[in-house]
Amino acid sequence: MLTKYTEKLNKYRRVMCKLAVLLLLSVAFVSCEEYYTPDLDSATSMLVVESQITNIASKNFVRLTKTQDFYETNADTKISGAKVELLETGGGTSYGKETSTGYFTLAKSAIPGKTYTLKVTYDNKTFISSPVVMPALPQIDTLYTSRSIKKTYEPSEYGAPKEVENPVFNLIVDAPISSQLKYFRYSVRSVLQWKYSPPSTGAPLPLWYGWKNTPSNSTFNIIGQGNYSTATNKIKNHNIQSLYIDPYQYLDSAALAPAGWIEIIDQYGITKEAYDFYSALNKQFVADGNLFDPVLSQIPSNIYCKTDASIKVVGFFNVCSYQGYRYFIFPQKTSIFQKRVSNSLDIPESGYLTGLPPNFWVYY
């Protein structure tokens, strides 16, 4: 009797399994995400303050714009004619110079350990930031490379997500931390050098020396002293850039010969408030509405309207210390060559020279 039931159960199980696989294949396309345009209220524009004050005067700026309605398609509204002041506690005041509409430069270099306040006067209103202490100058203790596999998703022939694996190399840094500096932001510009030998039936034509930027990361690369980290005196093993080992992922033609990467690294020492600000921006950038996403929240700001507390301001007064580095990286079959190079020369976004390499060119 029991055997009979077992046979019956097995028979049903086989049928159910076949049905289940069929069902799951269809359920693979069940969840869907659609572009959605709900009716949104029109709101009063707010002042947007984007600012950066560093120990390098040429990197200092304040950009003033206005917020727009979400469905607005025109470019940002820039604010002209504002008065921008940088106040140093116990020091003087430097004034912003409007070099283009809404864009102000500041000639003063900030000093680590000093406290600064930003004051913007516009439309008979005064906007002022919280005082910010400039962190200590950052350093890169060690920079090294590693290899790993990066998984990405592409639509399959059926439109379903299909996982693709690509070997990449990573730029990893260790950075010391102190009581005056616990948080960092990295901005890495990767310039791929290439050479091209034009085809010739006669005498060889001059070689082309070209370069191009790779797309920048979509989020801010920030790191702080981890709550759960064993290391108390340094940030360890922090990945600041990942690039495909196969350079042809970036080059437009197989006729171009890759000639290594110039990695231009901007290291900023930032405050805890700035870390939280960038962290909030990153959360907004990567939000995908999936399971257990936190409730959406506003990006914090450290600027307020002094003349009318009900007026909201967005943006951030960012006082950060800066250090720049430049490395040459050349991935090989089994190893990755690296060397530190001078970071004094400007590199345009892309271009090429014929016959002679540009002055920033780095040879392997």
Partner: protein
């Protein structure tokens, strides 16, 4: 004419005799108990009656033509007179009645309108020895009401005796007990969706009868009588009761019956969202519901992030949800109490129930430890093969996902003599899942309880409940770029409780319950451990949080008159947050943050860090109206000392619990409710309208960008808020007929407000804003149609307002990247949610003697493929799954956007 006259005269005589009988004092020895001796061989009845008169001084009245030529052939030895007469008149056309305790009246059957001659086609069940007929004035009838198809007990079936108006309902084991006058009766046995059984019985003495009901296949002139649940107060309102049959009949996702998805079809109860764990009652948060399984709380009620409920539906007897008017014996949560009763197990023989579904299977075994003895057991379990199936899809995203669970439940119902029953229950479960992400969730419950019911006297009953519940969660975060940063986040809670209730029933109109409850909590808010070697992660642990809650309660359920019932209860609660612990003291003029700490206070183990007291009045009135209706009103105050800390709109397995402490005050709710209840057409329909208003103090809200995980001092990110909810609930249910089901509509609103004045603690400019669970309109319709005895169709339709959401209203550029500025909190609303599910069930064989009983259920979830939004969010870059794309736009994600068919095979043997 003479005969008619004679018969009429006798009727009058009999009536007079019966009236007289009722007023007479009973003599020391009832006439029917007089012992008769003698051998009567071919003795004429006349002679026998003369002998009675001579030897026992019993006179007999009769017409000679009725007994002409009748003889008896009996021998009596100390035989009670009643038995002697029954022997004589059995199968005779005449019968008898006693008169004035010293006489007997003889007359033809049918003249008293009571002792009628049976219709040959009626099946009459005789309870007791025929010889004792008439010996007792009344008798107790006991037994069980069973589903004729599968012999499962029917809980809440009504047994009604129309002549006396006595009605009882079956208890959680399907047992009933009714006391009736002896004699011939017709009992009406009814249960929703089943054919009403009009069972004729001849009740002679105490006895036991099991009766079977079959699902309805014909339109009959049924009479359904609804009875009061004997556990709930007669004045109880705002209560939903769902039995196992209803749970199993609703069409569900993947064919798996689900207690929570059944309950959310009731008025005032709402689903959080598609495929989400938990539920919302009258606008309350999901953590404001206490789900009890045999008295022990279940901290996470869902498997596979909300696909299924934690509790095996085969093991469930019934589910009772209190939304308001909560009895004083319950506390702990402010929104609702869901009391899940598991089956006791049948006493006849061991039975196997099971089901094979598309992604999971289940089994349950129940029966007596010893055949036909009262002590029983139930053991069951479920598991899934979704991991294996995910791999079969050949879809890389699914192949890298993990999703499996199991649960095992068991109980033993031990009957210790006549007056003691002990029920021991155990449950364990584990879930593991990740959906192609770097976060692997593992969580599980361990639950146990012992319930000891002791009957001291018929009027004094005690219930002791000991329960333990443990919930543990692990979140393994993998960092593919640097595996040395992989870590595991552990959170958990342990709960132990002792509850003792003494019930005193001084009379039928009064029931007093009193008791005490002590609860101990131990919470692990968070612990980080390395997930690999080598590691850059160090062990970090947030100190455990211990506390003790005491409750003392008493309530009295009184029938003030035939039309007014009243229940008054009081619960005193005392909560203590205990050391060891360190409390940071903040500058009271500034926002709480690490930078505003002034100093700290350290408490030793067992020392009271903070304590709270509270009195919780519970009042309910019922005013009965004509035609089986009633008007009810209730008030309750509840305290909640435990909150689930989460700033996600959907409950996550890794969300941790936090008890009230120095800064987090207990949540207090006051609720008023009024309701009108009618059961028209003799109970064929149930209708109700309820209105409620709820006021809430000390709700938890979170600051923008709050960091809650591994936060050693969550008070720095938490804001105390207040709120209120109100609503109206309409309910219409058809209990009987081939077509039955219900329609429920709820209008409800729920709002929050913070009064804080500090800048980062202000939400929505200190104005009221809708809670994330504010869904004004909610309509549910459930329909069951019995096509034939073997085919059944079920369908349900739900329609509700969309959940409030916060959407971007403005945008700007920062560092070349588009950033959005969100609206006031919950200012906008998702599109309405609506869905229709259908199922059809085919029973293979209904023959009672057939051992293997199977049924197929074909169901379609989301029949018309509505893309109900699970979330609406801003995304800078469209994902590859997006069907229509735009940069920096708002997207709508639907989890289930197509019809999902499923098939389940259920077995029983």
């Amino acid at each position: 004419v003479k005969k008619k006259y004679t018969f009429s005269s006798i009727k009058v005589l009999l009536i007079l005799l019966f009236i007289a009988l009722s007023k007479l004092t009973i003599l020391a020895q009832p006439i029917q108990e007089i012992r008769i001796n003698g051998e009567f061989r071919q003795t004429k009845l006349d002679d026998f009656f003369l002998r009675l008169e001579k030897d026992y001084h019993i006179k007999t009245y009769y017409r000679t033509d009725w007994i002409a030529n009748q003889t008896i052939n009996q021998t009596f030895t100390e035989t009670p007179l009643i038995q002697a007469l029954n022997q004589i008149f059995n199968n005779s056309s005449i019968t008898f009645r006693f008169f004035q305790n010293n006489s007997i009246v003889i007359f033809p059957k049918g003249l008293d309108g009571n002792n009628t001659i049976k219709n040959a086609q009626s099946e009459v069940i005789v309870i007791g020895n025929k010889l004792n007929e008439g010996r007792y004035a009344s008798a107790k009838l006991k037994g069980r009401i069973l589903d004729g198809k599968n012999s499962e007990p029917l809980v809440g079936a009504v047994i009604f005796h129309a002549q006396t108006g006595i009605g009882v309902t079956t208890n959680s084991s399907g047992n009933y007990e009714i006391e009736l006058p002896t004699g011939d009766h017709t009992l009406q046995i009814s249960f929703m969706g089943y054919e009403v059984l009009n069972q004729k019985i001849k009740l002679i003495e105490n006895g036991k009868v099991d009766l079977e009901l079959f699902e309805e296949t014909h339109n009959l002139e049924e009479v359904t009588i609804t009875g009061e649940n004997n556990k709930a107060s007669k004045a109880q309102m705002s209560m939903v009761k769902v039995n196992s049959r209803i749970i199993k009949e609703l069409p569900v996702m993947m064919g798996e019956a689900d207690i929570i998805k059944s309950v959310v079809m009731m008025p005032g109860v709402q689903s959080v969202g598609e495929m989400s764990g938990g539920f919302n009652v009258r606008g309350g948060n999901t953590d404001q519901n206490l789900v009890l399984m045999e008295g022990a709380p279940v901290f996470n009620t869902s498997h596979l992030f909300g696909f299924f409920s934690m509790i095996n539906p085969d093991a469930v007897q019934d589910v009772t949800l209190f939304k308001g008017g909560i009895p004083a014996s319950y506390g702990e949560r402010v929104s609702s109490i869901m009391d899940v009763k598991l089956k006791d197990g049948n006493t006849e023989n061991i039975k196997f129930y099971g089901g094979i579904g598309l992604i999971n299977s289940r089994f349950t075994l129940d029966g007596p430890f010893v055949k036909k003895k009262k002590s029983t057991f139930v053991i069951g379990g479920r598991t899934t093969y979704s991991d294996w199936l995910l791999r079969q899809t050949r879809n890389e995203q699914f192949m890298n996902s993990v999703a499996h669970f199991y649960d095992i439940n068991g109980s033993a119902n031990l009957v210790l003599g006549k007056n003691n029953t002990v029920k021991i229950m155990g449950y364990t479960s584990e879930d593991v899942f990740n959906l192609n992400s770097n976060s692997l969730y593992t969580y599980g419950n361990i639950i146990g309880s012992v319930n000891w019911r002791s009957i001291f006297t018929k009027k004094l009953i005690s219930n002791l409940n000991l329960s333990y519940s443990q919930y543990d969660s692990e979140l393994k975060k993998k960092d593919s770029d640097s595996p040395e940063n992989d870590y595991i986040l552990h959170t958990g809670v342990q709960y132990g409780s002792m509850k003792y209730i003494l019930s005193w029933l001084p009379n039928e109109k009064n029931r007093v319950n009193g008791g005490i409850q002590t609860i101990g909590y131990k919470i692990l808010p968070g612990k980080i451990t390395p997930a690999g070697t080598p590691t850059a992660i160090t062990n970090v642990k947030i100190p455990t949080d211990q506390s003790l809650e005491l409750g003392v309660f008493v309530d009295d359920d009184i029938d003030l008159s035939n039309t007014v019932a009243f229940n008054a209860g009081l619960r005193y609660v005392h909560f203590m947050n205990l050391g060891p612990g360190t409390v940071l003291n903040y500058d009271k003029y500034q926002t709480k943050s690490p930078s505003t700490v002034i100093d700290s206070t350290t408490y030793a183990s067992g020392k009271i860090i903070k304590q709270y007291f509270g009195i919780e009045p519970r009042l309910s009135f019922k005013f009965s109206l004509k035609d089986d209706g009633s008007f009810r009103i209730s008030y309750q105050r509840m305290h909640q000392f435990m909150n689930q800390i989460s700033n996600t709109s959907v409950m996550s397995p890794a969300d941790f619990w936090k008890s009230a402490d120095t800064y987090i005050k207990p949540l207090i709710s006051d609720q008023f409710a009024v309701g009108l209840f009618r059961n028209p057409r003799k109970g064929r329909y149930e209708t109700s309208v309820e209105l409620y208003y709820k006021n809430l103090k000390n709700l938890l809200e979170y600051k923008d960008g709050a960091v809650l995980v591994m936060n050693k001092h969550p008070e720095t990110d938490i804001i105390n808020a207040k709120g209120y909810s109100y609503g109206a609930e309409l309910f219409l249910k058809k209990n009987t007929g081939r077509l039955n089901g219900w329609l429920s509509y709820t209008y409800s609103r729920t709002f929050r407000k913070t009064d804080n004045t500090r800048d980062n603690e202000i939400i929505n400019k200190k104005n009221y804003y809708p809670s994330v669970y504010d869904k004004p309109h909610d309509l549910s319709a459930v329909m069951n149609y019995q096509i034939s005895r073997r085919w059944r169709f079920s369908g349900n339709f739900v329609l509700s307002s969309g959940r409030p959401v916060t959407l971007p209203e403005q945008k700007y550029t920062y560092d070349g990247k588009q950033v959005v500025y969100y609206s006031d909190r919950n200012k906008y609303r998702m599109p309405p949610y609506h869905r229709m599910d259908v199922s059809i069930t085919f029973d293979e064989n209904l023959r009672k003697k057939r051992m293997w009983k199977g049924s197929w259920t074909f169901s379609v979830y989301n029949l018309y493929g509505r893309k109900n939004p699970y979330s609406i969010f801003y995304r800078r870059e469209p994902s590859i799954q997006t069907t229509s794309k735009a940069e920096g736009a708002i997207y709508k994600l639907a989890v289930i956007g197509v019809p999902v068919p499923s098939i389940t095979y259920n077995i029983k043997f």
